[in-house]
C-alpha cells in the first residue's frame, strides 16, 4: 500500500486516535509506513509483525522494528498487555482465524484498532447486483486472486464486537479518504474501528 493516498488517510485517522508516546503493535504492518508515521508524529514505540520478506526489508530500511512471523499462528511471542494499541490495518479480511486474532489483539494490547474494506459500500452492492464480485480501490483484486477471504460490512463487524463483548470506542468510515457520517454502511468504503474489552 506504499504511496497510496487513500491508505494514508486512514493512517492519519489512526494517528489522531493514538495517544502520544504509546506502545503500538502493528499486525500485518506491510512496509512499515504507518509505524514510521506514528513514530514521527506521535512518538510511539512499537513493532510491526509481517510475514513477507520484501516488507520486512522495507521496514528495516525505514528503521522500524519488525518481527517476521505468521499472524495465523497467533501472537504467542508477545506478552499480555504489552501494548497500548494493537493495530490490524486492512488485514482482518485476509485472516483465516478472524475471532482468534481479535482475541489475541486484546490479550497483548489494551485497545485494538482495525481497518477493513466495507463490503456494504454501495458500489460493491451495485457490482454484486450486476452479478459480479466487487472490485474497488480498497478491494482491488479479482475474485480468484484475492487474499480477502473474510469480507464483512460495517454492521457485520459491529455484530461481531457485540457477540464478543467488545466495546467500540470510536468508529470512522471513509470514502476517498473523507469521513462519511450519513449511512456509513452504504456510503463508506473503508471502516476504521477502535475497541476494547467491555469493562
Amino acid at each position: 500500500m506504499t504511496g497510496n493516498g487513500i491508505a494514508r488517510k486512514d493512517y492519519a485517522l489512526i494517528g489522531q486516535w493514538i495517544a502520544p508516546g504509546s506502545r503500538v503493535l502493528d499486525l500485518g504492518c506491510g512496509d512499515g509506513e504507518l509505524l514510521r508515521e506514528l513514530m514521527n508524529t506521535r512518538q510511539v514505540t512499537g513493532y510491526g509483525v509481517e510475514i513477507d520478506d520484501a516488507s520486512i526489508l522495507a521496514c528495516v530500511q525505514k528503521g522500524v522494528n519488525v518481527i517476521q512471523g505468521d499472524l495465523e499462528q497467533g501472537l504467542s511471542g508477545f506478552e499480555d498487555n504489552a501494548f497500548d494499541y494493537v493495530i490490524l490495518s486492512r488485514t482482518l479480511q485476509t485472516m483465516r482465524h478472524t475471532e482468534g486474532i481479535l482475541k489475541e489483539m486484546l490479550r497483548v494490547g489494551r485497545q485494538g484498532i482495525v481497518t477493513f474494506p466495507n463490503f456494504g459500500y454501495w458500489k460493491n452492492r451495485v457490482q454484486v447486483w450486476q452479478g459480479r464480485m466487487p472490485r474497488s480501490a480498497d478491494m482491488p483484486y479479482q475474485w480468484y486472486d484475492t487474499p480477502n477471504i473474510h469480507l464483512c460490512t460495517v454492521r457485520d463487524f459491529e455484530d461481531l464486537c457485540a457477540q464478543h463483548d467488545l466495546e467500540i470506542l470510536e468508529r470512522a468510515v471513509l470514502t476517498h479518504g473523507r469521513p462519511v457520517t450519513l449511512l456509513p454502511n452504504l456510503l463508506g468504503s473503508l471502516a476504521v474501528f477502535r475497541f476494547e474489552h467491555r469493562r
Binding site: 514505540t45 526489508l57 511471542g77 506478552e79
Partner: protein
C-alpha cells in the same frame, strides 16, 4: 565482455596485541598474560564511533575478510558479508575480527607455550567461556582505542558472544546483530558436542592433550568435524547436493568411499584436521555447552537481558536445526519483554545452519539495510 578487469585483491594482514594484565577466567583460573591476533578493515573515524566487532563461531578466526596475499586461495570466512560496499561496509565502518582466546590461529591457546613449563599448554589450557571471550574482546577494544561499538555482530557461537556483549557491557554497543544463534544449547546440541569430544579424547594419539610434536588426534578431530558438518547442513540440502550418488556408479561391497556424501564428509574432515587444533575444538565446544545467560542470572532469559541497552537485529534460518528459529525467537521474546528495539528476520533457506555464511539476497539485504540505518 570483451576484456577482463584485473582482479584487485583486497590484501589484509593480521596483527597481534599482547596483554600483560592477568585475566581471571570464569572458571577461577588466571591467565597471567596472553596474546590476541586480530585484523581490522576500514578506518576508525575521528569520533571513534564507527567500530564494529565481528565474533567468530566454532571454527572461525580473525581472518574475516579479504586476502592475506596473492597466493591465498580463499578469502576470509565472512568475506561475502564484510568489505568495501558489502552489507557490513568497511568504507563506513571500522571492522575488527579477532581469534578468540583458546583459539588455534595465533591467539594464546592450548598450542601456545605455557610460560610456567616452557611447553605447550595442551590440556592444561584453562577452559574459557563466552563471558571470558567477551572480556578479552573488550580489552582488545581498549587496546585499539575503541570505547564503544557501533555494532557487535556474530553468527552461531559468534551470535552468543554478541548477545553476551549486550549483557556484560551494555554501554559499549549501540547495536547487536545475533545471527543463527541460540540463548543456550539444547540437550541434543550438547549431545552432539560430547560425541565430537569423545572422538578426540579417545583417539590414542590424544595423549592427554599433550600431543604437540607428535601426530595428534587427527582421526578424532576428523570424526568430530564430520559429525559437526552433518548437523550444520539440512537433510534437504544433503539430499539435493549428494543424494545417493555413488563415486563409481555401482556398489563396491566394501568399506571404502562409495557414496558421494561419504567422500564429501571425509574430505571436509581431513581438511579440517590438518588446519585445526583438537584442544581448541574441545574448548570451543565446552564454551558452547556452558553458555546460558539465563541460568547465570538465576532467572529467565528476559531477566538476563534486562541490562541490555543495544538495539537488536536477530536473524534465523528456516532449515537450521542446530540453532533453530525457535531459539532465536526466544531471544526476540526476551528482548520484547525488556522493551528493546528489535527486528527479527527468518530467512527461508535450504542449507541449514551453514546458511548464515552464504550469500542470500534477502538475508544480506536485511543486514545491509540494518547497517545502513546505523549513523556512526
Amino acid at each position: 565482455m570483451t576484456h577482463h578487469e584485473p582482479t584487485h585483491r583486497w590484501i589484509v594482514a593480521p596483527q597481534t596485541a599482547r596483554f600483560t594484565e592477568p585475566l581471571v577466567l570464569q572458571s577461577g583460573a588466571v591467565l597471567n598474560g596472553y596474546e590476541l591476533v586480530y585484523e581490522t578493515y576500514g578506518q576508525l573515524n575521528a569520533s571513534r564511533s564507527n567500530a564494529v566487532l565481528i565474533c567468530h563461531a566454532l571454527s572461525g578466526n580473525h581472518h574475516v575478510a579479504g586476502y592475506h596475499g596473492e597466493q591465498e586461495k580463499k578469502p576470509g570466512w565472512w568475506d561475502n558479508m564484510i568489505g568495501p560496499g558489502k552489507p557490513i561496509d568497511t568504507e563506513r565502518f571500522f571492522v575488527i575480527g579477532l581469534n578468540n582466546l583458546g583459539g588455534c590461529h595465533g591467539s594464546t591457546g592450548p598450542s601456545s607455550i605455557n610460560p610456567d613449563t616452557g611447553k605447550p599448554f595442551g590440556a592444561d589450557f584453562p577452559l574459557v567461556t563466552v563471558e571470558d571471550w567477551v572480556t578479552a574482546q573488550a580489552r582488545l577494544a581498549e587496546h585499539l582505542g575503541v570505547e564503544r561499538f557501533a555494532a557487535v555482530v556474530g553468527g552461531s557461537l559468534g551470535g552468543m558472544q554478541a548477545l553476551q556483549w549486550s549483557i556484560q557491557y551494555p554501554d559499549w554497543l549501540d547495536h547487536c546483530l545475533v545471527i543463527a544463534a541460540a540463548p543456550k544449547l539444547t540437550a541434543q546440541n550438547i549431545a552432539f558436542n560430547d560425541v565430537a569430544r569423545q572422538a578426540i579424547l579417545t583417539d590414542p594419539d590424544f595423549n592427554g592433550g599433550q600431543y604437540y610434536g607428535g601426530p595428534g588426534p587427527r582421526r578424532g578431530l576428523r570424526l568430530a568435524r564430520m559429525l559437526g558438518h552433518i548437523t550444520y547442513l539440512s537433510d534437504d540440502v544433503m539430499g539435493s547436493k549428494f543424494g545417493r550418488a555413488l563415486k563409481s556408479g555401482s556398489y563396491q561391497f566394501g568399506y571404502e568411499v562409495e557414496f558421494e556424501i561419504e567422500s564429501y564428509l571425509r574430505y571436509q574432515g581431513d581438511k579440517f584436521a590438518e588446519s585445526f587444533d583438537a584442544n581448541t575444538y574441545l574448548l570451543m565446544t565446552k564454551a558452547l555447552d556452558y553458555f546460558d545467560p539465563a541460568q547465570d542470572m538465576g532467572g529467565g532469559l528476559a531477566e538476563a537481558l534486562r541490562p541490555a541497552q543495544a538495539d537488536f537485529l536477530v536473524v534465523a534460518f528456516t532449515t537450521d536445526w542446530r540453532f533453530a528459529p525457535e531459539r532465536s525467537r526466544e531471544i526476540v521474546e526476551a528482548l520484547l519483554h525488556n522493551k528493546r528495539n528489535v527486528s527479527y528476520a527468518e530467512i527461508t533457506h535450504g542449507h541449514g545452519h551453514d546458511a548464515f555464511l552464504m550469500v542470500d539476497p534477502y538475508y544480506h539485504g536485511v543486514v545491509r539495510a540494518y547497517m545502513e540505518k546505523i549513523k556512526p
